[in-house]
Amino acid sequence: MKMLATIAWRNVWRSRGRSLVVIGSIVVGIWALIFMLGFMNGFMISYINGAIKHEISHIQIHEANFKKDPNIGFVIPGGMDLAEFLTSNPRIQAVSPRSLTSGMISSPRKSSGGRIYGVIPDRERSVTHHDSLITEGSYFKSDLKNPVIIGKELANTLKVRLNSKVVLTFQDRENNLVAGAFRVAGLLETTSPQINKASAYILMEDLTRIAGLKEGVHEIALLLENPESETVVLPDLRSAHPDLLIESWREIAPELELFLSMTDSFLWVLIGIIMIALIFGIINTMLMAVLERYRELGMLMAIGMNKWRIFMMIVIETIFLSLVGGPIGILLGLMTMYWLGMQGIDLSAYSEGLREYGYSSILYPYIENSSYVYVAAGVIITALLGALYPAYKAVQLNPTEALHTV
């Protein structure tokens, strides 16, 4: 076996140029794989983090009936106290209690349906960071009475500008229509069409006052210190408050999960394509190597090297090729990931379009350590698969004929 390995190793360097081409393509293939994995991962993470950070947060709490029947009466009992209490949980970074109802948002010229949020600005800001997404005006900073913040697109639809007056109309507890006049204090631009086109944010005290509510918390949004602690926090909350509906971001926005699995399968397709390309490259090269050494292989069989050993010699030679290329590719990929992970990829040149997909124009590729193991295993498997046919060809030869070919 050692002799086989020696011969195989030296054979690798026999056609130096050809071997280097294969090694090079393995290096590039692996690097591309890692880069794509990292890019897609980074993209997904940035997209999901954006959605979590600016829209849905990690965990939302509602009164049990509220989601099915968003009646303004279904408030979380003792909602403010609960929110206060959750603030002291070390695993929870920020808590925002909100009032929430749906209604009409009208300007003198147009009106549009949408959600109306009553927020406590300091709290809300710490969860959804909407203050960083204000394109005009400010986030509840002006002295305007009855301020409202609406999405930029909604403002366009309603044909209102900063300081314009809008009227919010919604139902109170007894299903009576109530209305209040507000002034546009800020325009918001997010990646969520729901927020951009059909949401208005006012102060919680304004909303509860108009609706005539004593307690006005319909929704509590939580941002965790560490997203992974969801597995601890969620069950804890659920067992402490069995009568409330407590959901993670996956349940609140199942489309994110779908997006995740879609990019996942897309990635597998890409990996498959790269691997198939590598397999064909390897088959081609090793087949050339076998045909070139036909006479030599015939001689080896004649003097007593059995088919199994010849088969193994070709397989080992192929594995050596990938063992040289594999680590180089992985190392290059690792270094690229490390560098880009710190540097980020500035997509601002394309971000006009990307604005639709995520918040950050700088993408930080990321790859889990286990992925390197998968990539390495994938390369070995690829090499093995690519070796089988040439090795089979080699053992098929007939020694007398092989020795005759000139």
């Binding site: 011969i7 030599e296 007593g304 007398t400």
Partner: protein
Amino acid sequence: METVTDKKIVIETRDIAKVYHDSKIAVQALRDVDLEISEGEFTAIVGPSGSGKTTLLNIIGGLDNPTAGTIKVAGRDISKLKDSERIDFRLHNIGFVFQQYNLIPVLTARENVEFIMLLQKIPVHEMKARSLHLLEEVGLKEKANVRPSELSGGQQQRVAVVRALASRPKFILADEPTANLDSASAANLLDMMARMNQEEGMTFIFSTHDQRVIDKARRVVTLEDGIIKSDEVRS
């Protein structure tokens, strides 16, 4: 057909025929070949091109099967062996020397010599001892760690013979071992083979065109159109 009668017969062919069918016309490469070879012979198979020398050696060496007839090598009917058994049989009983491309180009002279012994699973120390001793014997000690591409044609053939010898086969079959050599190297190689035949008692069968090589043989079997025309034993 007189052979050295007090010696054991180790190769015995009976009415061997070989017909090749791969082209449109069938080619009768051998017909009715009866041949007995005794232990320790130094025999040349001669004849014009196409007379069947290579075919006969290939059949004796178990690389090819006869179309008809029986062949016993070292007491075994090798035409009845399975492919894998046959490779094993060659490994342990037969040393081959071909006209060219005998050596593994990526191995040094010594590694080439040791290659068959490795396949035979000979203990390392014995393997090293045998290869160094034999290489020294044929004057190639200095070239032990050199690859075949740095050896002359004659040196390469000597390494090939040494490799065959080192594995201690019952026979060494050499198909035109000197065909690619100048006459001085050819004579040199033959002298060496003759010496090994004397010293190690190995049976040598080789084919050749070269009259000077024929002169060194102790028995000359002449083939013509696949038939044994003459079989002459010299003193």
